[in-house]
Symmetry: D2
Subunit: 383 residues, 4 copies
């Protein structure tokens, strides 16, 4: 695994836990962790349970005792690492967004396609697909339970930048992160809605906004923040604080999208609602064990959004865990990601989301950027 | 009063009820009701409590025993009636949207300005301003409790056209209604958010969609629907089923707007959320007695959206009604509208929303229409 | 009508409104209002729309121009007034609880039975039966949609006495009110659950508590409170602040009941949940337009409590009002009560809840009182 | 660890995970797992990560390489194992309820007191104390934020026995489980409310009910059920399906309690509400990352239950986990239990809940049983 901040901790927990609850054909071993600072990476490896460390990821991707490389670094490094790892014959799990540009993503998708021909697989970490409630939603859409999708309403609302005193970090630096709320959380909306509906987004009209243009600089640039005083030197925020767009899907649905880190009071409100001709679905990650389903075929007068507590053995992934009503948390999605990835590799099948799926997201993000730069004019997601 | 369908019933109940609960300086009398069909209007007058009827609104607006004309007809007739009534020295309450075009609305605003100089007042019926929870929200914004507004999230979701078998009615006819979901319910979003934030919308990027292009024709065109069979002749739907747009407000806020009659399962979900620098507010008309308030100045660790049950004597309009917790219904907003209108007239002050406010909404609706026609390009709300 | 405080205002609004929305065979006229103080009763009659006044209810019940007497006075006067009115051949609507003792209630039920033989009817005002969501719940139970009821969970939580500074009023005086939270709001729980389940309560084990034993005396004893200072003389609270009991129903269900005016933050939380062998129902008056229904026969994996927005024409009472999603308020239950009462009288049928039903509630309240006095020992509801 | 069913899996995950997220002074090692069947226990040890196995718990508690014994077996074995382990100088974590009788619990508490004198500690596994939202609730009560507690409303609702076809298992056998819903889930209510309020329960009036008296027998008696056919032989259910009681607390609060496995649609609804003189708190495990707090000192007109999303670094246990809004799941409470236990042992302090606390719960359960057997008569919790 390369990188060991927030995502590294989540991934490591998943690698340690998957085989304790699920029957895996292959048992993951946490062989090596890579990072630039030796003392830091060594401490992290001890904490996270890795057997060895590397300070140069290039060494890690070539080690013979490694079968799979898990990339948890900022987006500007994804392409180089992933391509190298695939070239070295390692399976790859790469955090989202896949890359910082369509060009990089295309290079990665090409590499993945080539590797897959040789039985080496790449997966992109759009983990919310593995939230049981969303996996159930996907099943219901696929089974036709909501009919033709007409409306997609997708919001990802956080508030951790709402305070102008919150310091700069790499996620606010376009060179490292590619974009702001758009790529960090908006990308989840794009992947999740394309996957849920089974429809690619064909075009968008967008607006990006940076509410706070400069922020205190901080020694700590690795984490999610840190607060600086008034006399601290300020640097520019080079990414969007919020991304708003309307979209059309290939199957005729229309969508409103909003990703923001300035929605005060909303902590991790990934909210998705689909309205179809036969039913509707609604989800909010702030109540992540529930899926709301409106069945338009229920008897008239008895229709209503039902709150399905997605903790039954019949629900995706749940049989491996606890009895009904005993909910799962954020990191379980990562464990399920490991389960599905390991399972696909063992079966010699392409895991999803593939790098191709990651590239499809990138094309939408790119169209959003172009539209916003061109006064919200409609931009097709060329592909 | 002119017109006696859905809105007529709501207005009549308000006129009958206001002085039973509120201390009004003037006591409303339901003098006359106008409609085209004599038997129908007479039956309606009996039911609604009007003392006399007219089959020509031109006669009604000239009667000496009438001080105020309440216009509850489709939008294509508003301008002519309102201008005539004001010219005849009658106060006017006109249902929303103010008109079907900016030109009409300008004519009405001009007439209203002129009349006001002579102590005759006009008001536009954006009733949701009188929902106690939204009136409380306005008070909190005005008091600075949420700081600078950054995000406006405004959805008005209904589903009564979701079934393609629902028959045509005047609300689906552009000639009568001007537009579809946009003018009928989107206009409420525009007025309510401009009023709540105190900021005009300066520009929009929009997308309109008509999911069902033709519908069964029906003898009944007055109401909200009626279902026709398969062999019934079909006619075209000439308005939008859904309107989606992003917007910028004069004070720097950005907004996402969505008005739809195809959001299956959402019945009258007027949802508004404001995220400011110091707090947030959220409202949903499907739970209309509640306002959700997030106070960013609460102690860290104790912050959360609080559900204010807006039924306390300290809340707007409530002291006149029931003890705490005994909620109000939809029509109470109309009663409050009467209270505020009568009160303004008695004090010789301009009631709000004025026709000027109604015109401001019209300009936004017009910009939405232009943007949608021009591939979502950004359109300023010329004013 | 006799009495014109909180309940009087609600009843008057119902009498004025019912025929405006519903087709009634008889049109109510507000003929006379009775109260002890002539200036007060005259002002109230003007406000509420009554044509004349009486300062002695004995005169009112004998007037030839009166067909129905509506009793909105404190409980200690119900029996005398109701019996006299029935004897005078007037239909009677009597506010709940029916009386302050089983003996009084028996006398009233006897009088009602006798009067009914002559086509004169009496009804007891347990209005919550007319809340559309609860009427829908009753329909679902009667249709077997939740199977055999096993659990009844009934709470009525208010908080208006939570502040020890709130002054004494008649509702805190056992001589006038009979009991405290028990009779005032607990009686609603008893009636509503017996009616919903179709099962009488057969026995209870109870606990009563008075948290604040003395309160400031106040000149204002008519309303819901008023706050006195520290130096104000105090008087004793002679009723319960909270009543808690467990119960058994004739059909095998067990129930927990709680009525309190000390549940800080709960304003009018009449909450009822029924768990049956085939489904469950949940209701909270603080979101009074919703009924939550769990259908145990839904496909496994898709079960969940669905929030039925009880605003569809298919729902009880709704067709007379507004389009879907446009909710009703507290007083609509009183309007529906008038509709059902007038309808029953017109058809020559016994309206429900009858005085017999009111007596059944009284027997449960009495058993609660006896159990609480006897260290919670099990007390059957003798009947 | 002894036992490896549902609780064993939860405990093992906690032991494996605690030191990956928290800084522990001691690092847990999963040395040995005990169970009666060698192949089964060996498979479980592999799955759960234990280094060795024992088929006789007596051997396990004497092994020199073991410092702490974690008891995850049915209640009838707790006393013998715990006393033996403490006698052998091992720290003990014992699942709840502490025992099947007061006598056993007293023996265990005595043993624990004696062991503690020698620096060997015992803890009882009332894990819900470690749910962050409830730990925050405890902090708020302790800080006086809700004033004097007046009402305790505690329900634990499940529905896994609602189907009469669900087979017998050890939890339905009084000899093994002691009691039914009462001990299994009602015990959590008792411990959690005594701990939250800081007040012991002084007496109760109770009612126990067994809705389904016989059930199919099943080969599988270890898990949570399994469904048998009609021709399967039936055996008696010897425990309660539901337990309802009212209670008084030492500080003057009154409480309603209900524990049921027949509340159809409620999966793991541990619901606790406290109403105090200054505020209220409400929690539902079905939305376990939220605590609802009503602050009676908020400005009048702005009071309301606020939903605190208990995922901030300021909240108990959260700083070790994910960013705000990324919720925790059921098993995290077990991890926190390990953290607090290890921490207490390392500091040489008594961990809580102690066996004394577990005994206090047992006394309440015993009073409930006595009261139910005596027609709900009031029973003091002798202690």
């Amino acid at each position: 695994m390369i990188g060991y901040a927030f995502m590294g901790a989540a991934h490591a927990q998943a690698w340690r836990t998957a085989h304790r609850f699920f029957d895996l054909s292959l048992t993951p071993e946490l062989t090596a962790l890579a990072g630039r600072s030796e003392p830091d990476v060594r401490a992290a490896a001890d904490r996270l349970g890795f057997a060895s460390v590397e300070t140069d990821w290039r060494k890690l991707v070539k080690r013979n005792d490694i079968d799979l490389v898990d990339i948890c670094t900022p987006g500007d490094t994804h392409a180089e690492i992933a391509v190298a790892a695939l070239a070295a014959g390692k399976h790859v799990l790469c955090e989202k967004p896949l890359a910082n540009s369509v060009a990089e993503a295309e290079r990665m998708a090409d590499a993945a396609r080539e590797a897959a021909a040789g039985g080496v697989y790449a997966m992109c970490g759009y983990t919310y697909r593995r939230t049981p409630a969303l996996a159930l939603a996907r099943r219901l859409v696929a089974d036709g339970r909501i009919g033709t999708v007409r409306h997609v309403r997708a919001h990802y609302l956080q508030d951790w930048l709402s305070d102008p005193g919150t310091a700069l970090n790499w996620r606010l630096d376009a060179a490292k992160a590619g974009s702001g709320a758009l790529g960090d959380i908006g990308s989840h909306l794009v992947d999740t809605t394309q996957w849920l509906t089974g429809q690619p987004i064909t075009g968008v009209s967008a607006l990006l906004e940076t509410f706070v243009k400069t922020r205190p600089m901080s020694g700590d640039r690795a984490g999610l923040g840190g607060v600086g005083g008034d006399d601290v030197p300020h640097g520019p925020v080079t990414v969007d604080d919020a991304a708003l767009f309307t979209a059309r899907f290939a199957g005729g649905a229309v969508g409103t999208f909003e990703a923001s880190r300035f929605a005060l009071g909303r902590k991790n409100a990934l909210r998705i609602e689909l309205n179809g001709s036969a039913g509707s679905l609604a989800f909010d990650f702030e109540d992540s064990n529930a899926l709301h389903f409106y069945d338009g075929t229920d008897p008239v007068g008895l229709q209503g959004f039902r709150r399905i507590h997605v903790t039954e053995p019949e629900h995706p992934y749940i049989a491996a865990w606890w009895p009904p009503g005993h909910g799962l948390g954020y990191e379980h999605g990562f464990t399920h990601q490991v389960v599905d990835l390991v399972d696909a590799i063992a079966r010699g099948e392409q895991p999803t989301p593939s790098f191709e799926d990651g590239l499809a997201v990138q094309r939408v993000l790119d169209a959003v950027g172009r539209s916003a730069a061109a006064g919200s004019e409609w931009c097709a997601t060329a592909g």
